[in-house]
């Protein structure tokens, strides 16, 4: 199956106060794989993604991305902070509500990472930025501010912003949930291109089952902080093994 694990999650646990949100997650994502995570709200899907790039500190467990290995839990020492930063640089994140920088134009949003974090020259970064805007189908919106763009356009800019860091893995946290129905297609189309043309390694939390069936290489069903079903989309969607999975699929399909 996965030859070189681009992402490896071992024994990941997370509690908020006394409440256990993740109860021991093990997951490996190979290069170029698209893993679709689904499950009821509160099952821990978002927390899983947020623990992977340490937006939430895992209570226990290890995250490894592209050779950078970080232990969860404990104090964030200077050394650990730097390790987390290296891990984040290699990980693109797309949020449910976009989180574009409202004071910057679309192009400046895209090049902010390369210029500030990677120290690229502005002119070079702009050339790359325009290419990425072209890729997400918004070459004429470079000078627009986020407030002047639709939700679908903002999310595509957010994808371009994450891609500009040339990440090894892209994570999507319910990328279409905040969108009006007619805008979902344009965002999914960009994500599909990422998977099929760029062979990007992707971790996607979504309930878009059509997308999962088409480009997913693994599907992961989460229930009460655990992965209770895991397999290729065709199998999971047509023949779920667990009653919880079946009930959920009946509800969303």
């Amino acid at each position: 199956m996965s030859i070189t694990g681009e992402v490896r999650i071992e024994g990941l646990r997370k509690s908020f106060g006394g409440h256990q949100v993740l109860r021991g997650i093990d997951l490996e994502v190979g290069k170029g794989e698209v893993v679709v995570v689904f499950g009821r709200s509160g099952s821990g899907k978002s927390t899983l993604l947020r623990c992977i790039n340490f937006l939430e500190e895992p209570s226990e467990g290890t995250i490894e991305i592209a050779g950078i290995r970080v232990e969860g839990g404990g104090h964030r020492t200077r050394k650990k902070r730097e390790l987390i930063r290296q891990l984040r640089i290699r990980t693109g994140m797309v949020f449910q509500d976009f989180n574009l920088f409202p004071h910057l134009t679309a192009l400046d949003n895209v090049i902010e990472g390369p210029v500030t974090v990677l120290g690229r020259r502005r002119r070079e970064a702009e050339a790359l930025g325009r290419e990425l805007l072209e890729m997400v189908g918004l070459p004429d919106k470079a000078a627009s501010y986020p407030i002047q763009l639709s939700g679908g356009q903002q999310q595509r800019i957010a994808i371009a912003r994450a891609l500009a860091m040339n990440p090894k893995v892209m994570m999507f946290d319910e990328p279409t949930s905040a969108l009006d129905p007619e805008l979902i297609g344009e965002v999914l189309a960009v994500m599909r291109r990422l998977a099929t043309e760029l062979h990007m390694t992707m971790l996607v939390v979504t309930h878009e089952m059509g997308f999962a069936r088409e480009v997913g290489s693994q599907m992961v069903f989460m229930h009460e902080g655990e992965i209770i079903e895991h397999g290729p989309p065709a199998r999971v969607l047509s023949d779920p093994q667990r009653p919880e999975t079946r009930r959920f699929l009946e509800a969303v399909l």
Partner: protein, 308 residues
């Protein structure tokens, strides 16, 4: 009948109600509603100024004296402005550090900044002025040689430090609120890109916080422009006197107190008005990215017209 079948709406006009007799008051209200608001506003201002002018005329002011000596008082403008600008710069630096300290998880930073804001908001500005001007040299003398020199400040420096420290303490809260007004998602987006704390603050959080910080900071600056008058209580040589001190001195010498003070008041007022104008322009510029519509700049320009 109209050809396009909207006759339904027009058919059978309701019988006109008998025109009620309009009272004097109602006619006045109706007339008033037709006069543009700005015109009414101008009329009110003109009336206020007219009444004041009458009072002035009645008070038998020595306007010749005012004209003659306005120049002397105006020479204090430079000092007033220099003190205010230097103090606000110091205050902004302290407020930024204070806000970042208050929001940090470092015990030293939180401790130092909470002590700072507590003390300087909890004691009167005039006391702080004298503490720095008269109190510090005393400490310096007790400490011995190099300190005595360093801690003995001239009026001007003591005034700037006291005003800066005092206003910085108040503005810490303004800056803190501004920083907190930037959504948590912005921080996460910056962190997800791999930004350090510094980069996140400089590139993402502070540029957005500035929009929230500017209006109340302008307010503080206006208050400070006027509080520079307190510096004169420390006493100053003639070439370092600001507006109020000059007005006081001159008014007493010639027994034209009211005239001198009115000249000073008008100068403060003029100064704050000019400053408010620039603040408004700055705020418009900063809101450029937050205006919907394809040409944000043009829309902002449109709005600028009635105000100016």
């Amino acid at each position: 009948m109209t050809p396009d079948g909207d006759g339904g709406a027009r058919a059978a006009p309701p019988p006109a109600p008998p025109a009620p007799a309009r009272g004097r008051r109602e006619r006045l209200e109706l007339f008033s509603s037709r006069v543009p608001f700005t015109l009414k506003l101008a009329a009110v201002w003109a009336t206020i100024l007219g009444v004041l002018a009458l009072l002035f005329a009645g008070a038998d002011f020595d306007t010749d004296w005012m004209r003659e000596h306005a120049g002397f008082i105006a020479r204090g403008l430079t000092w007033t402005i220099v003190i205010a600008v230097a103090s606000i710069v110091l205050a902004c630096v302290l407020a930024l550090l204070g806000a970042l300290g208050r929001l940090s998880r470092n015990a030293i930073a939180v401790g130092v900044t909470s002590f700072y804001t507590s003390f300087f908001r909890g004691t009167p500005l005039i006391v702080q002025l004298f503490l720095i001007y008269l109190g510090l040299p005393q400490i310096g003398i007790n400490l011995g040689d190099p300190w005595a020199d360093w801690l003995t400040l001239d009026v001007f420096t003591a005034g700037i430090i006291a005003l800066g420290l005092n206003y910085g303490a108040y503005m810490t809260e303004i800056f803190r609120a501004g920083i907190q007004s930037v959504g948590h998602g912005q921080s996460e987006a910056a962190e997800a890109l791999g930004m350090t704390y510094r980069q996140k603050m400089r590139r993402v959080v502070l540029p957005q916080a500035v929009r929230v910080i500017i209006p109340p900071t302008g307010n503080e600056f206006i208050a400070m422009l006027k509080d520079t008058a307190l510096v004169s209580f420390l006493g100053a040589s003639l070439d370092q006197m600001e507006i109020f001190r000059r007005a006081q001195l001159l008014g007493r010498a010639d027994f034209r107190n009211l005239e001198a003070l009115i000249v000073a008041a008008l100068m403060y007022w003029g100064l704050t008005t000019v400053f408010q104008y620039f603040q408004l322009r700055l705020e418009r510029r900063l809101s450029k990215a937050y205006v919907r519509g394809t040409a944000g700049v043009a829309v902002a320009g449109e709005r600028a017209r009635p105000g100016t």
